[in-house]
Structures are given as structure tokens and as C-alpha cells.
Symmetry: D4
């Protein structure tokens, strides 16, 4: 196998696609799942060298990978709840995304979504624990919801939160089912089906636990919506 | 085949169980599905003769069966929305059940549930079109919900209504998923899974479109709860 | 049942929610599925009278309903491919949505999506028959894709089109799986799963054959994105 | 994040909802699944301080959490079979619930159900090992069944026990499928489907292994049924 | 195509396998599903001519096929409930099979099973309407069950009857799930799973609604068990 | 709880049913799954004391349980492949069962089936590695198959072996799907479906990996078939 | 819509891809499903005019479409069993494909496969009714199997035929599951899973009932294999 | 059990089928899954001694088995990525197979496929990381694709790659879904369904992660296609 061949793996184990940002306007991303900690570090470094002025995101990192990134790449920002890391300066935030989550157990997915939004160039804030079994908490933040350019709604179990939110405001909603639940939750399929069958229209659903995918979509929506520039990540 | 044998089919095609009320305190019921209109009429008549002082309920009747019952049993009460009929005097209502439904399309199941409650001896009222995408309608009736002895909550699509109701009041809830929806609603499985995975506790789920089963359970709960005697079926 | 009660069905069979537009900024919608042709006509009329200056959309109309709408509401626009009708003036289009479809059989869903976009206030155009088995057709319109504010991508069978489009441009994508296919397509589940598992991020998925839901989401995205005002529905 | 904001996480990782009892009449509950032992202890303590006169229940505790609760909260009652703990005085029992289980392996779910009943304010007793393959054991306790205000029926494998019990007595039944079984039991789905399709009406089903949810529903039914005050948990 | 070739279709549309009886000791069978009435008649005639001294069974006949068989083959025995027909003399019955069914709606499958038993050479009797929600009916015939050489147990919905029967007697049981039920019965899958997961051992399950397959298996078991010769088909 | 009460757990954790043999003619069985090694030993001992003249079978034993049984009950026969143990004298074999298996990986299930047959009173022999991809091996033993009173056919993956065997001989067949396979074998569901849909009639299917259940059924069939007394387990 | 635009629908309702043959070497194909009879005729005509020297295939034609093609395109060859039609001269056959089918009911799929092979340029022959429950028929043609360049194996129910054939010869096998079966055949999923899990390697599976797809693949394999030219379609 | 009996296990735990090559032209294969490292080594040795002039392949080896093979069989070639080993001289390659994979995580399956091709007698090369979200990489190698005798296309997630490749070239395609993905990828079922429902014809699908089966089929196709003899595995 010839390393000068354009079809060759650049790092021995992965063909790095450095032109993606040019095509889609997004940063490079390393999916940590199935990669060793040192592979994650090497990929982050290689992509960072290609574009030192742009953030690189690594997701689905296990504790060992998070630790090695922290040790070997001290300038990287490591988010242990989101199981993710960022290397390089994040872009300025344009537009604003609000991430809602139903329960405490949904936090890792909500955190991955929020971090992905920030790295993809939109401002982001979070509101947690607003599940539908305690409506008063959700109704208390209703005015906040209406001011966002896009909402990410994270919920497991029956996945009903997007339906309720979709009945309150007309903001574009990206719904993320989580694998939280037991028994007939079927690893998140119950929440996924609930969101797809929502009686409120205007909801786009991503894969189970896919906070990253939700963050990319919401950031793209918010970026092109926001004439108003906002400070990034003013988390509440 | 010996017609005097206690194991024999009384009507040639079905073994009628006339002792059921003695065992469970419930009226006799004829499941119309898969039976011809004349079989339905004959079964209703036979059961009515055994217990002229008690109501007999027939469910899942197709239009032809409803018509033949109306023609041949003029004292029967025929409910076309519920696709059901009652022959004989309903019992006095003890306790009170409220039937909530999410959307217009859930009406047949809600009607079957309400009729089943009445025939099984509890008072019943209905509140329709209080789906979760329009919370203000549900919140407007919140005080009513808390006064019932049991709630039947009927919903299709994502089946989120029981979760929201279960977060508002502590009344026993019987949830009925309906087959209303399309695509990934999977004939009601999505609503069923949503209700089983509800983040609010205290919800018992019955089979898809099973208004009858929900009515039986809710009536049993209400009957033993109600010291207060109420007029039957004061439907709103 | 008291017709003055605010919880009462206005038309005898459905509680009309005339405040929805105020809450979400969207027009009223009548879901035709499970309603009789005359119920559809009555609902369209009632909603149109409430808001004569705003369009009302009716979807999932069977041929009899389409015919009765055309006969009784001559000012309504009837779209037979989309199985839908619009009564009242559509809003001016703000922002621009492009609807892509993979095959000829996906046309009804693509048409419902396009009509829904237009009624919800964004300009819309369609590009059909750009399935992944004939990449040259898709690549020929690549530049067009990048100029839209939102893309709706409609596909059945394996549902691969959103993945390929998502690799070409960074525009927000709303993916609609259709029930087109046979055997193991499982009524559209195969396409749905394909879209949810897309290797390209930034894709929000709606229910199978849910052109309406996709149209609402895409229009909301485009409306808030478009500073540039465009002529509505310049269909190609 | 402002800790004085009413929407803030009180304990850093979870928003405690201390008003729930006021709304539904139930005690506070900590779902241990996915929480660390020290998080469980902290939540139990915090909720107990808010309402020292009321019991707090923690469920789904792993051995480490059970041990830490026993060590750090010596006044807590720890039930190792139920994998649960209670802190604070249980309410007086009103009404009476009987918990039936089909086999030895169903004991943890039956124990969680029984404990949940007691903490939610009803008296409770258990009858175990009355599976349908040994009918004589079930028939021997038939009279006991008829005296309860509510029955919780716990079974795995084919989940047939609620059908048989439902044919014997007219008491409201809450059915709990368990994940006991192998092969085509599909992690409890077989028992769940069996209970949903029961040929006996009057059965409400909860999620697989959800003893807690069954206990809440049964206690609510029994509490409002019981004029007769009974000693709590006589059989336990 | 050479009609003298042993691999050729004898009747133009089906290769008749006349050696099957020699291999397995069973009669020839025509599966009517998907065949035209005249094809059914032709196949019955052809097989009868090959073995005029042996019965030929045709199953899954629609009304048109049943009518044409009755008209064109007047010596055939047509069973309209079983949707089946027999041409030629049935064998003497050796051993005895009892067919139990849970509900009235299971009659067609029970009838197909009973007819298949008789044609395959064992005596057969039926006991109907002994579903588990009315145990007293089943317990009344318990002694009969123990005297059979094989039991066929037919049930839909939750499919619990084989479990209960299997706990009463040690006779080999062939369980037949039926597609009777609605909602989450999933076309008989619920009953099928219930029977496969039975807590009573010694139960062999056949496909949904497969009365024929159950009849073949039970007849084979009974034939080799019965030293006692019995009169065929003394139906009760 | 009163230990003299007939409903009490005899051993503190399980209600032992010592009357089962009287009802069904079968030995007592301990299902080891979910029981501790010492619980298994105690149950085996207790049952053996009740019926010292009869064998007791324990199945689904993990290595620790197998070791403790061997250590504490030296007269027990421990079968490590079958993951089972027998305590007490096996009955004389009446009738003869042949256990066929498709591949090497099916051995544990085949061994459990064979041991269960022997303990339930029939002679048993095994023929392994006769999968359908190597027909010559199966055809070489065809004459043996025809001489058995019952066949147990064990296969994973596509589960085709029962169909082929069922086309060769008319002996009653008990089919056991195994969880052997990968990918779309879905933990044995593929083999299970294959066996249920067999084009050869006369096949009863048991649950995935349920060698025990197959053994019980086959032994019952063989016992009542065999006038010819045979030496037990000649091939083993 | 501009008809001169290369992205335009040529016939108003479908974008005809006339360059496909140049890309893949295959003829044009019209999928009849969901198209009106006159649309089918128009598409066949248009494609035939583009390439009068090459065959055009139309599949999945309903009786009305078959009739209209026969009437309006008298030179077309109409195959009623295959529900397909061919217009234009078929290519000379290179290489040889053998189509095997398990049962009579599989004939339509086998016929579609055979016709597709012929139109895609390979010789083809068929052997029917060689299901695994009658092995002698399959073994009688074993030598024929080994001489083909590719085998198409069509089977419903348990789908075991490819496994058995794959154990007999080393020829590339294309397996086609059919929707033939009932109950737990799940519309062909059982056969599909059986074929995917075959214990014999070297089998490629296509979608349920997809005779066309199998024909294309087998013809491509045979064409490039066959140095020996053979007469097309010498069907047996 | 008599070791001279042809039905006996040769190695105590497996019946070795040394005649397979004679029947199908393929080498012997040891499936390592479920076998101990020493069993793997013994089987490889035994098969190698029978045919020292032919390669033996062992697949699905865990690290311990790979290590023991390397230690005890120093002449074996061990491929750690493919989790496989080969003992004995591979055959000369005839015809040429190209293995494409969509992502880095698909490498183990692609490696198993490539090794299987080589051992089954065809030349093989690989092109990795050509997933559909980066079409330019795939289009860059389009000419290479058209020169192969068979393509193996390996992809997880939505499994769209075969559809796109099938639209580019007319070479026979063997598609391998992998279990790469998360959430609703359902362990590879999403990719499997995507490939079965491909809108491009001419694709045969094998089981999830079944690189071996794909290699066998592709090698068989290529061997009989290649008149042109090529050097084996040029790209590897």
C-alpha cells in the first residue's frame, strides 16, 4: 500500500478528511467510539495542526481517552459529563440554541449536544429537569423558550417532552431520544417512537443518544437565523 | 353432542358463562368481533333472559350488527360511536370515573370506555380534545381531574397524555393507547410503549384500543372508592 | 353537553383550537384522516371564517374529500398529488426551502411537504428523481442545494439520499422517509432507520410519509433565516 | 448558574421536586439507577430534611448504594431483596393490597412492589409461588384474593397469572411483567404482551420489572377504597 | 418441458409427491392457500386416483373452493368451520387425541386440528370454551384430559391455556397459538410467545393458526401410543 | 409468616412442590438460573429426601454450582456439558428418543435435552454434527431416525434441520432452536422462526435453548409409545 | 417547469434515465408498482424508442397493466406468472443461470427471476418444487446444479433451501426469500432471516419477493463467467 | 461410543468434514467462536495434516486464540485486524475482488472479507473510508471499481454505500452490513435493511459482520470470471 496514494490512511488507521469544513462549514470531528486513547490523541493533534485556528471536537470518549487527552493535550477543553473534548479556539457564536432535558439521567446527552452547538458556532444555554410529569417547571421557562433560534429537547422513557414544548412555541425543535429507561423502553426505542409520532408538528428527530448530531443541526439553524450576535455559551 | 352436558355450547356456537357476575360482580359481555349480527342478537337475548334485571353489554359491533340489534331488540341502547349496545337496566353508579381523550380520532375508544364504565356500575363523564400539544385546555380542567375516583386517559400517536396527567394529580389512572397515527406509530405500539414508559408512576395500561378493559378496571376502582353515590353517566 | 362550556366541541365532533397561530405563528391545519368529507369541509369553513386573512391547510384527504372541497369551497386550492387543499391567502414567502425526492413514487409526500412549506410562509422549489443510484443527477444540482435555507429530502426504500446530500452541503436537512418499497422495507421502517443512522450529521428526521411535519419544520427554519424575500413556490 | 434561581439543581446534579407530595399525595422517591451511592445518600438526606415526618423511598439501589445507605443513614430501613431503602416514618396503612408472585425468581420485583405500597400508605401482604402450572396453590388462597382492595400480580415467562386471577375475582388488578425467562421471553416482552392481551378484563399493566409503579397505583386504589383501617403489612 | 421427466409438474402447476405416505405414513395433503378452486379439485382428484383406498386432505380452502369441491366431488366430506375437505376413506383411529380450545373464536383452528388428527389415523374429541379466565370449566374436565394420548391446546390472546393444562396432566401437549385478539396481540405473536415461554414443560408449539401441523404431530404421537383401538372422532 | 401454613416457603426462598410427580409422572426439577450454589444444593437435598427412590434434576447450573454439587453431593451425577446434575436413581427407560444436533456449538443444549430424557424415563441416544450443509452425514443415519419413538432436533443459525428430518421420517419431532449464530440470528429468533415455519408438518417447537423442555416432551411421547423395553441411554 | 431542462421529467411523471445501460451494461427497467397501466405503456414505449435494439423490462404489473401492454404493444412478450413484460429483442445469452424454487407458490417470484436473467443477457433454466421436505427431488438434480454459472434459489416459509443447496455445490448462489407462509412467517421475514443465517457460506440474499434483483445479480455473474455460449432460456 | 463409527467426533468435540473441498472447491474453515484456543489449534493442525497442500482458515478468533495459534503454529499467518489465521499455502489467485469499506470502524470486517477471498482463490485489493458522506473519495476510485470481477462493499450505520456503488458500475456486488453504529442501528439491522432495500439492483447481502461469507461468495464469482490470471492480493 502506497502512502502517497490519495486513497491511503493518513495515520495508519484512518483517512482524515480535512476538506469537510470547506464543504459544510463545520469543524472536524473525531468519533471516539472504537478508537484507542492514543488514536484519539493522534487524530486530534493531526486535525488541529491542519487547522490551528479552528476547533476540533472529539466525542464518545471513555474515561481513559478523556484522561490521556487531558494529559497530552493540555490546551484541550475536556468535558467529562459530555464525554467529549475540544482542541483549538471555538468559533464566535451566532444565533442562540437552548438545550432542554427531561431528567437528571439525560445530562450526558444534553451536555454533548450543548458542547456540539458551541463548537459549531452558535451560542448555547441549558435548562434541565423539565420533564412532563412536573409541568410547572416547564411552564415557568416558557418565555425563554420562545426567544431561542432553535431548541434541542432531550428526553428518555416515553419521550413526551418535545410534544409539549412543540405545543408551547413555534421555534424549530431538534428532538433527541435517550436510552434512559428500563423494561419496555427498549434501549431508547420507546422515546424515539414517541418523538417521531409527536402530535405537535415542526420536530426533527435524531438517533438515540445522538447529542452531537442534534448539536450540529441546531447550530446550523441558529447560525443562519441569528443576525443578533450573542456571547457564546452563557449557560444558565 | 349432549345439550344437557354442562360443557356443551348453549347456543350452538358459544358456551355462555352465566355465573360470571356471581364471581366478579360484573355484567355479562358479548364480544362482537368475529360474530355474525344474528349471533350477537341471539347472545344478547339469551343473556338478558338469564338476568333480566341486569345490563348486558355488546362491544366491537360492526354497522350491520348495530343495525340488527336496533331492529330486533328495540329496548337496547345502541351507541354508534362506541360501536356497542346495552340491553337491560344499567346499575346505579357508585363512585365517579372521568374519561379524557387526546384527539378527535380517539372518540370511539373513549366512548367504548365510558359506556363500559356505566354498565359496570360507576358514574362517568368525558373531557375530549385535551392533547398535550395544547396544554392550556388540559390545565383548564385540572381541578376536575382531582375530584374523580379514577381517570381513563385515551391517546394515540405518542401517547404522552397519561404522563402529563399523572404529574398533575394523584388519582388512579387507566391508560388506553389507541391505534390512531401513521407511519412509525405501528398500529398503536408507539402509544402503548409511551404509556408503559411513563415518567409518572401510578398508571396502569391496557391493550391498544381496549376501551372496554379500561372501563371495567376503572369502574371497579371507582365502585369501591365511592361512598358518595352519584347519578350515572352525567356526561359533560 | 353545554355548547357554551369552553371545553365543548365547537362543531359537534372536534374542538377547534383557534389560538394556535398566536402561540406558534402557524396556520390552522385540518388532518383529514378519519374524517368524513363533510367534516373536512365544515372544519375548513369554520377555521377560514375565524381567520379570513390567513390560509387554512387540510391534509390526508381521500378523493371524496378532495372532490367535496373543490365543489363546496371553490376558492380553495386543491392539490391532488399532495392529497391536500388550502383555503385562504397563503402568506408571503420568507426564506427558501428546496424539496428533493429520490424516486417517482415519492411524489405525493414531496408534494405535501412543498405545499406545507408554502402555507407556513416560506418559498419552495422541488427537484425530483435524484435517487442515489444515479448520482450524476444529484451532483448536477449540487450548487442549487447550497443556496437553500433548508432542505427537505424525501426517500423510501433504503433512505440513503439524506446521507449523500448531508455530505455535499451544510444546509439544515429535514429527512422524510416514505413507505415506498416492498418486502423488508417494512412499510418505511427501513428508510426511517437509514435516515436516523445517517453517517452525515445535521439531519432531523420526521415520521414516515409525514410531508406535513417536514414542511412545518423547514418553513420555520427558512422563515427566520431569510432576510432575502423571495417569490413563493417558484417550483421547478 | 445561580443557586438561588428556582430552576437550579439544588444538589448540583438533580433538581429536587419537594412539592410533589402536595400535588399527588405521595412521598418523595429517589430512583437509584445511574446514581452513585453518595448521590443516593445525599438525596435521601436532603428530602428527609425537607419532610422529616414523611417517608422517602429509594429504589433500584445496587449493593454499594444499599451498603452506604445502611452505614450513613442508620435509621433507614434497607430491604436487600427489593434493592430499596426507606428513610422516615411510613404512613399509616389505609386499605389493603395483596401482592401475588408466580415464581421464586420474581421475588425482587414483588418485594419492591410491596415496599412501595407500604410507603404510599396502604397495608400490604404477599403470597408467593402461585404460578399457573400449579393451580392448586392458587386455588387454595382464592378467598384471600377476594378480600383485598387491590391485587398486584407479578409474573415472568408467559405472564399468565393475571388472566387466571382475573377470572377468579373482581378486585382491581395491577399486573407486573418481569424479565424472568430465557430465549424468546425477550427480556420480559413475552410476559408484557401476555398481560396486555389477557382474556380477563380489569387488568392494568405497568412496565417490565416496575414493582415501584405497580405499588404506587395499587396503594392509590386501596387508600381511597379502605374505610376499614388495617394494620400495615401484616403478612410481612 | 418433458412430461415424462420425473421432475415435471404433473398437473401443469404443481409437482405431486405421491411417495410421501410411503416415507412418513401420512396421507397426501393439498394446501389450498393460493390455489384456485379448480386447481384444488384437480389436485384432490389426482391424488385420490393414485390412492383410492386412502384419504386426501385439503386445507385452507376459501368458500369458493369449498363450494366447488362439494359440487364436483360429491363423495368428499366438506368441513366449513375447518375450511377443509377430505376425499377417500379415513383410516381407522389408533390412540386418542383431545382438542381443547380457549374461546369461541378459536373454533376454525380447533376444527382444522381435529379433522387433521382423524385423517392422520387417530381418534379425536373436542372440548371447547375452556379459557383460563373461567377455570371451573377446565377443572371440570380434568379427568378427561389425563386419559388422552395427546392433547392439542388451541388459544389466542395471551395463549395461557397450555401452561395451565400442562400443570394439570403429564400428557404430551401440542400448543397452537391463534391470531385471535387485537391491538398488541400482533396477529398471534403474543399467544405464540406465551406458549413458547410456558412455565410448564412438555409443550411443543406449532405456527400461528396451524391446526393442520398440530393435528399431524398429535396423531403421530397417539398412533404409536395407542394399543387400545378406539372409534374414530367420537366428538363430544 | 407461619411455617406450618401450606402456602409457606419450605426452604425460606422457594416453595417446593413435592406433589408434582403424582400429578404428571415426572421427577422434581430445580432450575438453577438465578439461584446461588448453596440454594441449588439445599433444594436438591430436600427433594431427594422427600423421594429418595426417584431422581431429581438440576439444570442451568453455573460452574460454581456444578462444583458445589459435586463436592457436597458426591452421589450426584454432574454433566458439565449439559450444565446439569442428577441426584437419585434414574428411572428405567421405556421407549427410545434420538437427539440430533446440527453443529458442535449446539452440544450443551443437546446434552441438556438428552439428560432430561433419561431422567424422565426414556432411553436416549445422540447423533451430532448432522447439519443441513452436509447432507451426506444426515442421510447416512436415516435408518436410525426411523426407529426412534421421538426425535429431538437441535439447531441454531437458520434452524433448517427439523424441516429436512421431517421430510425423511414420520416420527414425532421436538425441535429446539439454539442461540448459536451471529448478526441477524437475533439470539436464536432466526432459528425459532425457521422451525415454526417448517414446510414439513409434525414438528413441535420449544423455546430457544430449552433442551430441558424438549427432553420432557420427548420422554413423555416415548414412554407411552414403547411396549418394547430398552436399555437406557445405549449410545451415551 | 422547463421540459428542456435536463433535470425535467420526460413523461410528466417520471425522469427516464436512458444512460443506465451505458453505466452498468443492463437494459432499462420499468417498476410497475404504483404506476397506472397507461403510464407503464408510455414508459415502455419511450424507452423502446430510445433503444429499439435492446429489450426493456417491466415488472410488478397488475392484471390491468398486463392487459393494456398486450393490447397496445403487440410485439411485447407478456409473462403472466411473472407479472412482467419485455419489449424489444433480448440479448444473446452468455453463461447459464439455474433458478430453483421450493414450492408451487414460489412460482411468480421464480418466473420474475428467470425472465430478469434472460433480459439481462444470460441463459436460464428452471427446476421447481425441490423443497427441503422432499430431499430426493433435490438430490436427483444435483449434477445439474453443479454445471450452472450461478444459482438463484427461491423459497418461502423457513427459507432452508439455499442452505441445503449450498452444502451440495460450490456455485455462487443468489437466495430470494418469498412472502409465502402464514402466521409467524411474518410476510417473508422468517425466510429472509433463515437465508441470512445460513450455515453454508457463499450465499447472497436479496429482498423478499425480489426476483428481479436476483435475476440482475445472477445474470451479471453468469455473463462474465460464461465462455461457453448457450441458447437463451431453455426452460425445463 | 465407537471411535471407528463414521458418526463419531474425530477430535472429541467436533466432527471434522474433510470432504468439503471435494464437494465445493473451497478450503476447510474453523469457526473460532465458542471454541477454546487449544481447540482452535488442534482443529487447524488436524485439517492441515489432512491437506498439507491447501490452506486452512480460522475466523472469529479472540486474542487468546490468536496468540496460541501464533505460538504453537509458527508457520500460520495471523491477521489480528481480521481476527483470523491461515495455515498452509494459499491458492493462486484467479479473478480479482475489490473490498470497499465505508468507515474506519468497518476495518475488521473488511479484513476478514479480504483474507477469506485470498484463501478461497481470488486476488484481492482494498479501498477504505469511502463512505457516502464524502462522495469525492468514492468518485475518485470509480474507474477501479469497474475493473473488478466482484465487489465486496462493507458498511455500517445506514448501509448506503452499496446503493451508491451499484449506481456507478455493473460489477456483481456482495454487501456486508456491519454492527457499527449506535442507538437505532439495532446492532447492524439498520444497515442490513438498508442494503436489502437498495434502489440499485444486482446486490447480494450476507449476514451482519459476515466478512467470511462475503469473501467466499465473491471469490467464487471472481474465480470463474477470471480468464486473466492475476497476482494475488496486489494491494495488500
Amino acid at each position: 500500500m502506497d502512502p502517497t496514494d490519495p486513497r491511503t490512511h493518513h495515520l495508519g488507521f484512518a483517512r482524515v478528511d480535512v476538506d469537510r469544513a470547506a464543504r459544510t462549514g463545520d469543524p472536524e470531528v473525531v468519533l471516539g467510539q472504537g478508537k484507542s486513547p492514543s488514536q484519539v490523541v493522534d487524530l486530534l493533534s493531526a486535525l488541529h495542526e491542519q487547522h490551528p485556528d479552528r476547533a476540533v471536537l472529539a466525542t464518545r470518549l471513555d474515561p481513559a481517552a478523556l484522561a490521556l487527552v487531558a494529559e497530552r493535550l493540555p490546551t484541550a477543553v475536556v468535558d467529562e459529563v459530555a464525554r467529549a473534548a475540544v482542541l483549538g479556539p471555538p468559533p464566535a457564536g451566532r444565533g442562540r440554541v437552548l438545550v432542554l432535558s427531561a431528567g437528571t439521567s439525560d445530562a450526558p446527552v444534553a451536555a454533548e449536544a450543548a458542547l456540539s452547538v458551541a463548537v459549531h458556532g452558535a451560542a448555547v444555554a441549558r435548562i434541565d429537569d423539565v420533564g412532563v410529569a412536573g409541568l410547572h417547571r416547564l411552564l415557568a421557562v416558557r418565555d425563554d423558550l420562545a426567544t431561542a433560534d432553535a431548541l434541542i429537547v432531550v428526553a428518555g422513557m416515553e419521550g413526551a417532552l418535545p410534544s409539549v414544548v412543540g405545543g408551547l412555541v413555534g421555534v424549530p425543535i431538534v428532538a433527541v431520544p435517550t436510552s434512559i429507561g428500563y423494561g419496555a423502553s427498549l434501549g431508547g426505542l420507546s422515546a424515539l417512537l414517541g418523538m417521531l409520532n409527536s402530535c405537535a408538528p415542526g420536530i426533527g428527530v435524531v438517533n438515540i443518544d445522538n447529542g452531537y448530531g442534534a448539536g450540529v443541526l441546531a447550530a446550523r439553524i441558529a447560525r443562519q437565523s441569528g443576525s443578533r450576535d450573542e456571547a457564546p455559551g452563557a449557560d444558565r
